[in-house]
C-alpha cells in the first residue's frame, strides 16, 4: 500500500494530507514493549550496583555462597542452570522433533488436531503444578526406577552415582516436559514451511515416507529446528518454580548428575525475601541480571534463526 501511494506521488503532486495522529498515538503506545525491555535491564543493573562494585568480575568466577561472611560467587548457580537446561534438551529434542514431524504431516486432520491440542495444553499447565507433581510423583518414581538401577549397574562410571530424590537429573526431567510444547510448536511451523514441491519431488523419485522425511524435509528445516531448540533452551534457563521444588537447593557444583544442586532462578526464589543488608539482595539481583542477559541473548539469537529460516524457505 505504501508503494502504491509512493508511485502516485511521482505522477501528480500529492494533496497535503493531514498528519496521521492515530499512527503516532499507537506507535507511542506500542513503544511500551521495547521500552520495558530496556528499563527492566537498566533497573536490575542499577539495583545490582553495590554487588557489581564490591565483587567485580570475581563474582562470576567464585564458588562460595556464605551470606554471613558476605562471600559470594555465581559459578555453582550458573553451572546448575546450564546443566539442567542441557540435560532437559537432550531428553526433549528427539521427542519434540518426532512429534513436530507427526503434527506437520498432511491428512488425518482429526487425529492430528487432538494430538496438537494435547501438546498445547501441556504448555498451559502452570509451572507450580508441574512442581508439585514432580515433587510427589515424578521424582520419587525416577529415583526408584531410573536413578537406583543406573547407579547400581553403571555407578562406576564417573558422574552416574549417588542417586537422590531431589537433584539435577529430576529437575532436568521436569524441565524436559515443560519445554516440549515450545520445541514442538516452533519445529512444526518450520517443517510446515518447507515447500511442498520438495516433498513431492522426493516422492516422485520413489523415496519412501521415511527417506523423504529424513533426507529431504528435516535437512531443509534444520536451521529453523535449531532455532526452536535454542528458543526452548531460553525457556529452560529461566524456569523457576518447578525446578526449585525438585533440584534439592544445595549451593555447590554437584559431584554427579543425580546430586542436589541449585540454579540462578531458584537461588533468587528461595533467598530474596530473606536477604538482609545491602550487599546480599544486590548479589541476588546480580544473579537475576546474569539470568536475564543470558536468556535475552539466547532468545534473540533463536528468533533471528527461526525468522531467517522461515523467510528463506518461503521464497
Amino acid at each position: 500500500m505504501a508503494s502504491a501511494v509512493g508511485s502516485r506521488k511521482a505522477l501528480i503532486p500529492a494533496p497535503r494530507r493531514p498528519p496521521d495522529r492515530f499512527r503516532t498515538l499507537t506507535a507511542v503506545v506500542a513503544s511500551t514493549a521495547p521500552v520495558l525491555l530496556v528499563v527492566i535491564v537498566a533497573i536490575l543493573f542499577q539495583q545490582a550496583g553495590p554487588a557489581v562494585k564490591h565483587y567485580g568480575l570475581a563474582f562470576l568466577t567464585g564458588v562460595d555462597w556464605n551470606p554471613v561472611t558476605e562471600s559470594f560467587g555465581a559459578v555453582p548457580a550458573i553451572f546448575g542452570t546450564v546443566a539442567t537446561s542441557f540435560m532437559a534438551l537432550v531428553i526433549a529434542v528427539p521427542i519434540g522433533v518426532a512429534v513436530a514431524v507427526v503434527l506437520a504431516e498432511q491428512g488425518q486432520q482429526g487425529l492430528r488436531s487432538v494430538l496438537g491440542t494435547g501438546i498445547e495444553l501441556l504448555a498451559a499447565i502452570p509451572s507450580v503444578v508441574y512442581g508439585i507433581w514432580a515433587l510427589y510423583v515424578l521424582a520419587p518414581w525416577s529415583y526408584e526406577h531410573i536413578e537406583i538401577p543406573v547407579s547400581d549397574h553403571l555407578g562406576l562410571i564417573p558422574y552416574l552415582g549417588h542417586p537422590a530424590v531431589r537433584g539435577l537429573f529430576n529437575a532436568a526431567l521436569v524441565l524436559a516436559v515443560m519445554i516440549l510444547p515450545t520445541l514442538t510448536a516452533v519445529s512444526r511451523d518450520v517443517i510446515r514451511a518447507v515447500p511442498r514441491g520438495l516433498r513431492e519431488n522426493a516422492i516422485a523419485l520413489g523415496a519412501t515416507w521415511w527417506e523423504t522425511t529424513w533426507r529431504v524435509i528435516l535437512p531443509a528445516a534444520r536451521p529453523g529446528i535449531f532455532g526452536a531448540v535454542i528458543l526452548a533452551l531460553g525457556r529452560a534457563l529461566g524456569e523457576t518454580i518447578a525446578v526449585t521444588m525438585v533440584i534439592g537447593n544445595r549451593y555447590e557444583i554437584p559431584p554427579t548428575i543425580f546430586s542436589p544442586a541449585y540454579t540462578l532462578a531458584s537461588v533468587i526464589a528461595n533467598e530474596f525475601t530473606e536477604a538482609t543488608g545491602t550487599l546480599y539482595p544486590a548479589v541476588l539481583i546480580e544473579l537475576g541480571l546474569v539470568l536475564i542477559l543470558v536468556t535475552l541473548t539466547v532468545n534473540l539469537f533463536a528468533l533471528l534463526l527461526v525468522r531467517s529460516a522461515q523467510s528463506r524457505v518461503a521464497v
Binding site: T32, V128, V129, I132
Partner: protein, 284 residues
Amino acid sequence: MNRNARRGYMSGASLGIMYALTVLALIPLGLVLWFTASKGLSSVLHPEFFTNVERPVGVPGAGIAHALVGTGILVGIASLMAIPIGVLTGVYLAEYNYARWAGWVRLASDVLVGTPSIAVGLFAYALVVAPFHHFSGVSGSVALAILMLPIVIRTTEGAVALIPSGLRESGLALGLPRWRVSLQLILPAAIPGVITGALLAVARASGETAPLLFTAFGNQHFSLDPSQALQALPLTVYHYALQPYKSLQDQAWGAALVLVVMVLVINLLSRWVLRRQIRLAGQL
C-alpha cells in the same frame, strides 16, 4: 525387490516410532491431570474449601477463599494495565506493519515472551515494593501485566491481520479517518481474536508463581486491599506443597486442581472463540 521391501518396512517402522513418541509426549499431560485430580479431589469436595481461609495445622475446615480472591484481584488489575496497551500495540503492528518501528516492537514483544518471570518479579520489586517499603498486590499486578503484554500483542496482531483488507479499503474509500477505520471497523470485526488473546494472557497470569514471591508475597488473611500483601492460588500451592504436614499437602493438591481446571477451561474456551473468529473472518 527385497531391498525395496526393506525400505518400505523401515519407513513404516519409523512412522510407528514417531507416533509412539507423540503418545509418549502426551503421557505427562495425562499423569499431571490424573494425579492433581485424584489427590486434590478430597479437598475440593468440601464446600468450605472455597469459602474459608487458612487455619492452623490440625484445625479442620481450612480453605483457599483468600487465595481465590487474591488471584482475582491481582489478575484483574494486571489485565487493566496489559490489555488496553496490548490491544493498541497489536492494532498498530497489524495496521502499520510496513513501519520500521513495528519490526522493533514485534521483536521486543517476542523477546519479552521468553523473559524469565523471576527476573520480572525482581524488576517489579525494585520498581514498586522497594520505594514503598512493603509488599503489595499492585506490585504483583505490575509483574503479571509485563508477562501478559506480549501474549495480548501477538494474538491481537494476528486477529486484526486476519480481517480482509477489503473492509479497510471500503472504510477508507468512504472517507473515514484512519482511527475510525481501525477502532470502529477493523477492531470490532477482530474482537473474538482479541478476546482469545486476553483469555490466554489471563490464564498464563493466573498460574504464575515466581513473580509473586516477593511482590504480592502472600497473606494468611482475607484481604481485598491491593496496596497490601495478597495471597494467590499458585503461592498457596507452592508454600503448602513444601510443608511436612499431610493436611497442608492435601490443600496444596486441592489448590493445584482448582488452578488446573481454571487454566484448562480458559484455554479451551479461548480455542472455541478463536475457531468462531476464523469462520467469521472467512465470511467477511
